[in-house]
Symmetry: C2
Subunit: 173 residues, 2 copies
């Protein structure tokens, strides 16, 4: 299982660096920190991933990839069935965020679709029919500012990364 509270200073430093840029090399990280061998950093990263303290992944800007229909769902679930319903919802990769909360509703979720029809089908046809779901409130997301700690285009109108090229593709294979 995942242990908490067993992260030391080094782990936290590594995590915060990787949060900024998940593709940083171990040697780069070690270099910035100092007094740590590049090999150790590599070990730590491997362990962090292995224990699922972190996950390294690409976070697409939803609108940039065509998922233009975004919504926040508030779901009222019959008492005692939250975990169950959540497990079911978690299976859909259109669900980007899902949590149990206090207050009027039981679950809060962020969902991304290509079309309104798909969203409707999801709320009505899928969520609404899960046993234990008593109510589903849908609030459309008008603008996404930040998504998992990462600013989206709505907020990041700053300079592009000082990275590689900036060409765009036209022909696919």
């Amino acid at each position: 299982m995942t242990n908490r509270d067993d992260l030391d200073e080094l782990d936290r430093t590594v995590i915060s660096m990787l949060t900024e840029d998940g593709r940083l090399s171990a040697s780069e990280i070690a270099g910035r920190i100092g007094n740590v061998s590049e090999r150790t950093v590599r070990n730590r990263i491997a362990a962090l991933l292995q224990n699922r303290h972190i996950v390294i992944g690409a976070i697409p800007d939803p609108t940039a990839i065509g998922r233009d229909v975004q919504a926040e769902l508030l779901i009222e679930v019959e008492p005692g069935k939250a975990d169950e319903v959540a497990a079911e919802l978690g299976e859909y990769d259109e669900v980007g965020y899902l949590a149990a909360i206090t207050g009027r509703y039981t679950l809060a979720a962020s969902v991304f679709f290509d079309t309104n029809a798909e969203l409707f089908e999801f709320t009505e046809g899928t969520v609404g029919k899960i046993p234990g779901v008593n109510r589903v409130v849908t609030n459309m997301i008008l603008r996404m500012y930040k998504i998992y700690g990462t600013r989206t285009t709505a907020l990041s109108q700053r300079e592009p990364q000082p990275n590689g090229a900036g060409r765009r593709a036209r022909r696919a294979k």
Copy 2:
């Protein structure tokens, strides 16, 4: 600026693979796809990053790193000031998610803190005092199931990644 709708099939495929594992090598990706040179994949990735279509980063499991106090904020903002307030809130890295929504409230946010005191200080001292903010509703997050498309420990009780070591650190440097 960030262009949308200029992603072709290859881009989407690459993105979906990187979403699963942000550390996949270009050659690995190219290999799985076929008919594409490893170099091209590398070019595409560079472009995707450069245009901010995607961001690759480590996504820490909040509870795993000690951010045990998580909450959903619903914020009512004076008409016309949503962007402004959002820009301000987006600066805080305790804010992991932020979006403008339809419905009773203007903004929805997910925030992570180490202690209740910090959360309180944030809602009362920070958010509450931003000009244009009329109301702040705080719902505690009792359980996080999924965070940016990635299942958290609450849902991911499956096998660890077939990765490197599983040792744990004890001594920091």
